[in-house]
Symmetry: C2
Subunit: 548 residues, 2 copies
């Protein structure tokens, strides 16, 4: 059967797109039940009492990450045994990244408390946060994300709990108001650490190189810290479910903790909080009650819902959930249909005015090529899910569409001379463009290898800004058969964070600029960020590459 | 019967002083029962929800108290109706002095909360506290008494409660960290005000001049705010029971709220927390559990226990309590016996090394004369209590002692030329000296009048520093028959605070120096202080002076 693209699209639009009148809720029949299923899958948080292990100084060291490192100075009992009125300021090391409820106790050493004391507590995921002045604050996000809190202690002995959940390895305690009449000590502290990750991932093969063991361990820590009542993006900041992070966390979870109910909950939560017009919101809050963050629609993220659902189905065989949520997957495809042109290309200019097209935190990245790539990728993934559910007839236009688009994209973006994909509107050579062409299977495997390798020898290449894109880079390398390169790149990138002392992997990491921040102030970066956790997925999915 | 002073003292010491071995608890048989009785008299706090009445600016005005006054700018709904992201800073007026638990709510005006916000709240009893920078702090007491708190609000809508109890009329709310992605308002606030004062004092006579009505009203407010689970000295600072304040609060309570159980509780609490050697501590804490503040022994305060108990007995007829606590009263007298010399004078130099002898917050005050005065006063009051309890035989030496001391003191301290009492060690003319001579009944009424009047015409007189001594001044004037002077002085002193806008009476008030502070920083002064509340006692006890 020969059909034109227009007929294909008409077919599709007739079956789903405009059958609801304006303003009506597209998912009206299902929404309440989705919300209920999201609620019923809320995982129990396990609480583990964590105690500090040592006192440290944060010292300047030009070879250390962001030029600061923590140097152990004394065992923790030194703090408890001495007058805090004399000590005045201390930095305590919990020895690992933790997320939870922090409390500390004070007790009297001499006489009775006759006046309140006041403390400033600063929690840091990395050493530089403890010594970098937060004010005057020039960051682009709320200053209140920074984890410094002031506590007034009216009488002693007392145990004070910081009301907000904190995420940290180090805590600085400063005495900022001194009671004159007596002396006291800090007599204890703890953090009731919370996570919903309870399962123990399998041991790696004994042949795994130490570096990959370390990368795996830190990946798992990162994921565990982000696994709360949803997959959070970062436990320090923003503490919420994002579609893009969900996909990568679910991937990593599939190969480690295997707690599929959390994936299910997040899919249902996002579905239940979608717009009435059927579009998914890229990020949602749980508190005070579940609701979406307004006006957050990310073009590329919206398709990851379907990919996550497909993986979930393959892992669990839970066909009921997959069928229940399939309408959401199908509905997102319309966001792409809208921009399709007769020639198989898409109207990127219009889309970029109407969407936040993300791919990476990277100033100056041109997204035209990746935009086409992710669309083809989304179509293919959606069609595969339809096949698993025997619903190919509902998206029967997709194979033809994919074919047509791949041909068009190849024609317009591929430069056979350089072997690289570049856009029409801008000839920037970027990792993002090559990666998403490879993942969309536009190039042959040989061309894919050539394009990815060419990135290393081309000048002025736009490199990845954040681990999120780096994940897709590793994926693209493996897909192209560049296994050794994948191993080498992971060793360099995530291994680079390991060498710099990472306890959890970071939101932003550019080896050439440790102060890079999308928010204009690096202490407000998240240093335990979900989208950084995927090495464990690669290491465990491809033991032949990483475990020997 | 003729006895020497030495024999008198020997008699006394044999009957009580050294019958317990060193280290034993003098009150061992009674202590637990006293503690239990203190506990059983803990009053219920009534909670009243208070709402703010207006928005104000604090403006400079050289005629206002401490040069600042609050000027109403808008009704409170203006705050609730507008974006606080734009307003950023506001001062709210609750219209009255309140003590309790403060909370405020925030709600979204636009979009959803995507980041935490942070607020600084500053609570003030008087306008200057809202505009005087607290830092760098140079005060002599803990900086943490100052009522500024930082609150992080992680999600909205939210209601945040300040953990510490606060005491204030005005609250400044400043937005110190702004969430960039949305807009919000302060949607409400309240204070759950607490007090144990529930009774309604009698109306004053209709003939009472307005100024004394005002003084009475503010006295009652002051007392009510200090009536918590004990008679506190000040609800902002120090929030605890002091013996000296107890006496004056109990006096005022006897003529107003008549809640005698609170007086009983405080007497039992102090008795139960006395030293093993029998000495009372001048101040005790209730939290985390009842205990004395160490090393706080005030010579003059310690005798006020007996005076308060005597008044309590006269008011209530509760002979059981008075008999139960009589041993404490008798025991305190030993603190005076120790310094008595054969000639009827006392060794002030030794006593002043061994005690905190208070009388007033006043630098440079010489306390030798007042020290003798309060001792004679204590002996007389104790003897009167003994008579009420038919226990004169236990302190049968007192009448003779008083007589002998009065004669000696008159001889050494009275200057017939000037009509004033001055010390041997220092010839300072002070209010304190004259007052305590009058209260000890050393001078005749005519001499007393002369001495008190002479204070007004003598140069370099040491004037009262705080309302505490001013109370005894009014008492001395009335005792001397100087009723008009008492009225005039109260009108000038407490009326002065009224004219300066006092909602409650202050800890420290010197009309010539509004910035006077015993703690080197006037914002840490208490502006609702128990020892300032006694005008209501005078006004109600002496209607013929103040109510016409």
């Amino acid at each position: 059967m020969k059909t034109t693209l227009k007929r294909l699209l008409l077919n599709c639009l007739l079956t789903s797109c405009f059958i609801t009148a304006y303003g009506q809720d597209f998912y009206a029949p299902q929404r309440a039940s989705w919300a209920e299923k999201a609620k019923q899958s809320i995982p129990r948080l396990t609480v583990t009492e964590k105690k500090p292990v040592a006192l440290v100084n944060i010292v300047k060291d030009e070879t250390a990450f962001q030029q600061y490192k923590a140097v152990q100075t004394a065992p923790i009992h030194k703090l408890y045994d001495s007058s805090f009125k004399e000590t005045k300021s201390v930095i305590v090391d919990f020895g690992e990244h933790i997320t939870g409820s922090f409390s500390f106790s004070t007790d009297l050493l001499r006489a009775e408390s006759d006046a309140p004391a006041r403390f400033k507590l600063t929690f840091g995921e990395v050493p530089s946060e403890l010594v970098t002045p937060f004010d005057p604050y020039q960051g682009g996000l709320s200053r209140a994300w920074l984890q410094d809190e002031v506590v007034t202690v009216m009488t002693m002995p007392a145990t004070m709990t910081i009301p907000r959940r904190v995420s940290f390895r180090y805590v600085k305690i400063e005495l900022i108001a001194t009671p004159p009449g007596y002396d006291f000590c800090i007599s204890g502290m703890k953090c009731d650490a919370v996570t919903s990750a309870v399962n123990t991932p399998e041991e790696l093969s004994a042949t795994t190189p130490q570096l990959f063991k370390d990368i795996d361990r830190v990946s798992l820590n990162t994921l565990k810290e982000c696994m709360q009542t949803v997959y959070e993006d970062g436990p320090k900041r923003d503490q919420r479910l994002w579609l893009g992070d969900l996909y990568l966390e679910a991937l990593a979870n599939n190969y480690s903790f295997k707690q599929y109910d959390l994936t299910k909950r997040c899919l249902y939560l996002l579905a239940s909080l979608s717009e009435h017009n059927g579009k998914l919101n890229a990020t949602v809050f749980e508190a005070p009650e579940p609701k979406p963050q307004a006006k957050q629609h990310l073009y590329d993220y919206s398709f990851l819902f379907g990919v996550t659902l497909k993986d979930y189905l393959l892992e669990t065989g839970d066909r009921e959930t997959a069928e229940d949520l399939w309408p959401v997957v199908k509905k997102q495809l319309e966001s792409a249909y809208k921009y399709l042109q007769d020639d198989g290309m898409m109207n990127y200019e219009q889309a970029s005015r109407e969407w936040w097209i993300f791919f990476d935190w990277k100033d100056g990245l041109h997204r035209e090529v990746a935009f086409h790539g992710v669309t083809i990728f989304a179509f293919r993934e959606a069609y595969e899910l339809a096949q698993l559910l025997n619903k190919e007839n509902e998206v029967s236009q997709l194979p033809e569409l994919i074919k047509k688009m791949k041909k068009a994209v190849r024609k317009h973006y591929y430069n056979p001379k350089t072997g690289l994909f570049t856009g029409i509107l801008n000839d920037q050579v970027s990792y993002a463009s090559q990666i998403w062409m490879v993942l969309s299977e536009v190039p042959t495997q040989k061309e894919a290898q050539r394009a990815l390798r060419a990135l290393k020898t081309t000048e002025n290449v736009c490199t990845p800004g954040a681990p999120y894109l780096f994940h897709y880079y590793i994926e693209a390398l493996i897909k192209s058969g560049l296994k050794e390169e994948a191993k080498k790149e992971m060793a360099e990138y995530w291994g680079g964070m390991i060498h710099k002392g990472a306890d959890t992997f970071w939101e932003v990491y550019d080896p050439r600029n440790e102060y890079l921040s999308p928010y204009n102030f690096y202490p407000v970066n998240s240093y335990c960020h979900a989208w950084s956790c995927t090495p464990t997925y690669f290491i465990r999915k491809y033991p032949e590459i990483f475990q020997k």
